[in-house]
């Protein structure tokens, strides 16, 4: 059984569990939206003194910060107890396309070219990670949610704003992948 769990999980089990997480949070009287935590952290750090957007009672969001803490623990448990240590099994075509951009075939879940300590602390490497994070944080709050709040929660309720946001997510992702990647990687 443990050997089976240690393998990568098929998409349908993962999709089922993500919807189960959404329904559990609804049952607990909350809603599934992870990026709200970023705003909460700004508020908890005292941002409300300078910017009105962060002036709210962030303690009402303790449940979501606790969820965040759980997510970190979950990642730790997955890597220490539930991992087969195999590299991610992406398609041959993706390996080939990424090879043309200077990426070696996967040896784990993440590329060393971006996330190894050595590369993350070069000027270019650091800027890539910083700008990536900056756009995710800015964009998710501007759009009023991220993958969990819009793509999962909002789409499940068939909300048009969430559909527009998801179209935006993909437009931005395709722009980055096809137009900007060839300029920054080679």
């Amino acid at each position: 059984m443990l050997e089976l769990i240690k393998q990568p999980w098929p998409w349908w089990i993962s999709g089922f569990l993500i919807s189960a997480i959404m329904f559990l949070l609804l049952y607990f009287g909350k809603s599934f939206g992870f990026s709200s935590n970023l705003r909460t952290i700004c508020a908890a750090a005292g941002g409300g003194k300078f910017v009105k957007f962060f002036d709210f009672n962030w303690r009402t969001q303790m449940w979501n910060l606790t969820f965040l803490l759980g997510a970190i623990l979950g990642g730790f448990i997955a890597s220490t107890m539930l991992s087969s240590g195999e590299p991610v099994q992406i398609s041959e075509q993706t390996i080939k396309d990424l090879g043309e951009l200077g990426f070696q075939p996967p040896t784990s879940l993440q590329p060393d070219e971006l996330f190894s300590m050595k590369n993350a602390f070069t000027l270019k490497g650091f800027l890539i990670l910083a700008l990536g994070g900056l756009m995710v944080g800015f964009g998710s709050r501007y759009a009023g949610g991220c993958t969990s709040g819009h793509a999962i929660s909002g789409m499940s309720d068939l909300q048009i704003p969430s559909l527009i946001a998801v179209i935006g997510f993909f437009a931005g992702g395709l722009l980055m992948t096809y137009l900007i990647f060839p300029l920054i990687f080679s």
């Binding site: 999980w9 998409w11 349908w12 993962s14 999709g15 089922f16 569990l17 049952y27 607990f28 009287g29 992870f34 990026s35 970023l38 705003r39 700004c42 979501n64 759980g70 997510a71 979950g74 990642g75 730790f76 997955a78 991610v88 992406i90 398609s91 075509q93 396309d97 993440q110 590329p111 190894s116 890539i128 990670l129 990536g132 994070g133 900056l134 756009m135 995710v136 944080g137 800015f138 998710s140 709050r141 501007y142 759009a143 991220c146 969990s148 793509a151 929660s153 909002g154 499940s156 704003p161 969430s162 946001a165 998801v166 179209i167 935006g168 931005g172 992702g173 722009l175 980055m176 992948t177």
Partner: protein, 137 residues
């Protein structure tokens, strides 16, 4: 102890992000290149079951464990904030290969440099708070 259940649900989330490989930059690239069904299968299954479940909750007015009705407040009507915000998010999602949840899962997993990504996501949210009133919404 009221918070313990959220810790547990968060843990399940973290494990699912790791075991589904949705936390992997490679998987996000494969998705944006339309070269595998994997990520579409995950999101598609979650949304399909989500739609059915939300319909049932509404049809049978199912209540939460405190006895309060489960409500789905409509998001404010607009195009610009969702489209522009969405595009900026998507640019960052493809570049870093991570949306906010998987960032912290990666840190727990041992990919510590995602701390840089997560820290700047907080900075990005703060910047949004500063310029919010100057942006089209």
């Amino acid at each position: 102890m009221k918070l313990l259940k959220f810790l547990l649900v968060g843990m399940i989330f973290g494990i699912v992000m790791a075991k589904s490989e949705a936390m992997s930059w490679y998987r996000i690239q494969e998705m944006f290149r339309f070269q595998a069904f994997h990520m579409y299968g995950i999101i598609g299954t979650a949304v399909t079951l989500g739609v059915l479940g939300v319909l049932l909750i509404k049809k049978y007015s199912i209540r939460d464990f405190d006895g309060n009705p489960i409500l789905f407040p409509p998001k404010e009507k607009s195009v610009w904030r969702y489209l522009l915000g969405g595009i900026i998010f998507g640019l960052g999602w493809a570049l870093s290969g991570s949306c906010p949840g998987p960032m912290v899962v990666n840190i727990g997993y041992g990919f510590y440099t995602l701390t840089i990504v997560f820290f700047f996501a907080i900075v990005g949210t703060y910047l949004y708070g500063i310029v919010k009133n100057k942006l089209p919404h």
